[in-house]
């Protein structure tokens, strides 16, 4: 190898090097760890939780997230995920799993300082024009159980469980809230500084399901309206969607 070839080799090597250069290009790693909670405690399916002067339990709590993004301090946005399905119904069946939550790993991110995470709760309008049959079975949007023909929309979030209306431990009242349609899609912006570097950064994102039931006059009266899955008759599901901005937070 002559000296010209050698220097050419070094130049090529530097272009394809994985170490960050002054332009901030490099490989950074991030874990987003989503945790379902109820009043600050891990949300475990079928566990009893205090609610107003009685208790309730959850048998289902799951939802789509779309357009997950991180934004650095200079305003550069990176898309992390197009669509995911957070299935706390299946995962959160015991305290250990609930405490662990659901983690997604991202690589090839720009190394630097960040101050925002942005998460769409539900199915964005573009994807919401499609149907489950448009996707292969590995895609979260292939779930026919999360598409409602009458709405021409995906079901964004399902919250179901039982409520102890008699306050005697019998949990005799079932409740069901399904959100959907474009009007109930919410983009949540989570402010908070963090650094993405060559060592994996883990950010915890909490979803406090109790806060979804907040109203101006206290907790929502579930017995008064225990079933709502009709976006043309907005009630509890509008409340749940609007409360996402308070319920979803970056844990630091």
């Amino acid at each position: 190898m002559n000296k010209y070839t050698f220097f050419l080799f070094l130049a090529i090597l530097s272009v394809f090097s994985c170490t960050p250069d002054d332009d901030g290009i490099g490989t950074g790693f991030l874990n987003l760890n989503f945790k379902a909670e109820f009043d600050g405690e891990p949300l475990v399916m079928f566990n009893e939780y205090d609610y107003a002067d009685t208790k309730l339990l959850f048998s289902q709590a799951d939802f789509y997230i779309t357009h997950v993004e991180v934004e650095d301090v200079s305003g550069v946005v990176q898309n992390l995920d197009a669509v995911r399905f957070l299935d706390f119904t299946t995962v959160n069946k015991n305290a250990d799993n609930a405490a662990e939550g659901i983690t997604y790993f991202y690589n090839d991110l720009i190394i630097g300082e960040y101050d925002k995470i942005r998460i769409g709760i539900g199915v964005d309008a573009e994807n919401n024009k499609k149907k489950p049959a448009d996707f292969d079975s590995n895609n979260p949007l292939s779930k026919t159980g999360y598409y409602w023909t009458a709405w021409d929309s995906y079901i964004f979030m399902k919250i179901q469980g039982q409520y102890d209306e008699a306050k005697d431990g019998t949990f005799g009242l079932g409740y069901l809230f399904h959100t959907g349609k474009d009007e109930l899609y919410r983009t949540i912006e989570l402010p908070g500084t963090f650094v993405i570097g060559e060592d994996t950064t883990t950010i915890e994102v909490g979803i406090d399901f109790k806060k979804l039931f907040n109203t101006s006059s206290g907790l929502f009266d579930i017995p008064a309206n225990p079933v709502n899955h009709d976006p043309d008759n907005l009630g509890p599901i509008q409340m749940i969607s609007d409360n996402l901005s308070e319920a979803v937070y970056m844990k630091q």
Binding site: F135, D136, T144, D230
Partner: protein
């Protein structure tokens, strides 16, 4: 005796089933693409009593085409006349079911599922080694396996290849486009007033009629979401009291009493109903759902008293009958070749 099959041509040709445009893609495993000869071999095996220890039964003994591949029994019996505990499920569109097979979802693929009934003591009660021995010296199967999978010698016939062939045939069992529902969907037909009312009830489509909530679990185009639910048919004190744990046998006790949602396509031909065939008629099924069923910790919250009147129940039944596909029931490509 190991038969040399290399003198038989192996020229696989792709098999492409035709089904309604609203269906998702039919996904085939990379190691078992559908071919004309693969489906043919599978169809032969499916209906061949050679699968059972005493040569009296086959898959087709519990899955009759005229009953949309069920057997019209509450629970099926095997070769020893021992009754099982669950009803034979319809195989219509089974190739699109990616969330588990059997009522409890214990098999994840058709290839895996096809292996089980042969050796099940209350079904075909055979052993795969004995069956393979028979297939390898059979007057016609070595050639069929050659044409389907390109094997060179009869000794290469294995249970895995047999299961693959059966899976290919099962994947080919798809709806035609001839049900009234599909004709309405493609614009070539229209519902009667009664069927329209039934449709509105089914899909909670009309604010002026009650919600029957059917579409939450029986969603189009397959009329099943392939999920697992407790639909309130069993009266229990706790989750541990279900006589059949169902999905809970595969996952955990919180899924006790849950079963896979069956398709409603051709439902009028697949009585009796539920995992144990407890309801003889669709009217009984509708009465159950209208009543709100039995509460349990894990019952789906769409199961609650519907307060439907008789006219509305009749309309639901009329709509469900628009899912009947008689062209499929009579299509010779799925029929017993023997």
């Amino acid at each position: 005796m190991d038969i040399d099959l290399t003198g038989i041509a192996y020229t696989p040709s792709e098999y492409t089933p035709i089904f309604p445009a609203s269906f998702p893609e039919l996904e085939e495993p990379e190691d078992n693409p559908m071919t004309t000869d693969g489906v043919l071999l599978g169809r032969n095996l499916f209906y061949d009593n050679i699968l059972s220890a005493d040569s009296t039964m086959s898959c087709g003994s519990c899955h009759f085409q005229e009953f949309s591949f069920t057997d019209n029994l509450a629970v099926s019996e095997g070769i020893d006349a021992i009754a099982g505990t669950r009803s034979s499920m319809s195989l219509l569109n089974i190739g699109f079911y990616y969330e588990g097979l059997f009522w409890d979802g214990r098999s994840t693929t058709l290839e895996e599922q096809a292996l089980l009934p042969v050796e099940d003591p209350i079904e075909l009660h055979h052993t795969w080694p004995e069956l393979i021995d028979k297939l390898q010296v059979h007057p016609s199967y070595p050639e069929l396996f050659r044409k389907a999978f390109g094997i060179s010698f009869s000794s290469e016939i294995t249970k895995e290849l047999a299961a693959k062939a059966i899976a290919q045939f099962e994947r080919s069992i798809v709806s035609s486009t001839s049900s009234k529902y599909d004709r309405v969907e493609d614009g070539s037909d229209s519902f009667s007033d009664e069927e329209l009312l039934g449709r509105d009830l089914f899909f909670d489509e009309n604010p002026d009629v009650p919600d029957a909530e059917c579409g939450h679990c029986h969603a189009p185009p397959l009329f099943t979401t392939n999920e697992y639910f407790n639909n309130g048919i069993e009266q229990v004190e706790t989750l541990d009291d279900f006589p059949d744990l169902g999905r809970g046998l595969v996952t955990d006790r919180f899924d006790n009493g849950k079963f896979r949602v069956p398709t409603l396509r051709n439902i009028e031909f697949t009585a009796p109903y539920m995992h144990d065939g407890r309801f003889s008629t669709l009217e009984e099924v509708l009465d159950h759902y209208n009543s709100g069923g039995h509460p349990a910790l894990n019952v789906d919250q769409n199961i609650r008293p519907l307060n439907l009147n008789q006219e509305q129940l009749d309309a639901l039944l009329a709509f469900m009958k628009t899912l009947s596909d008689t062209e499929f029931l009579n299509n010779q490509i799925y029929s017993d070749p023997f």
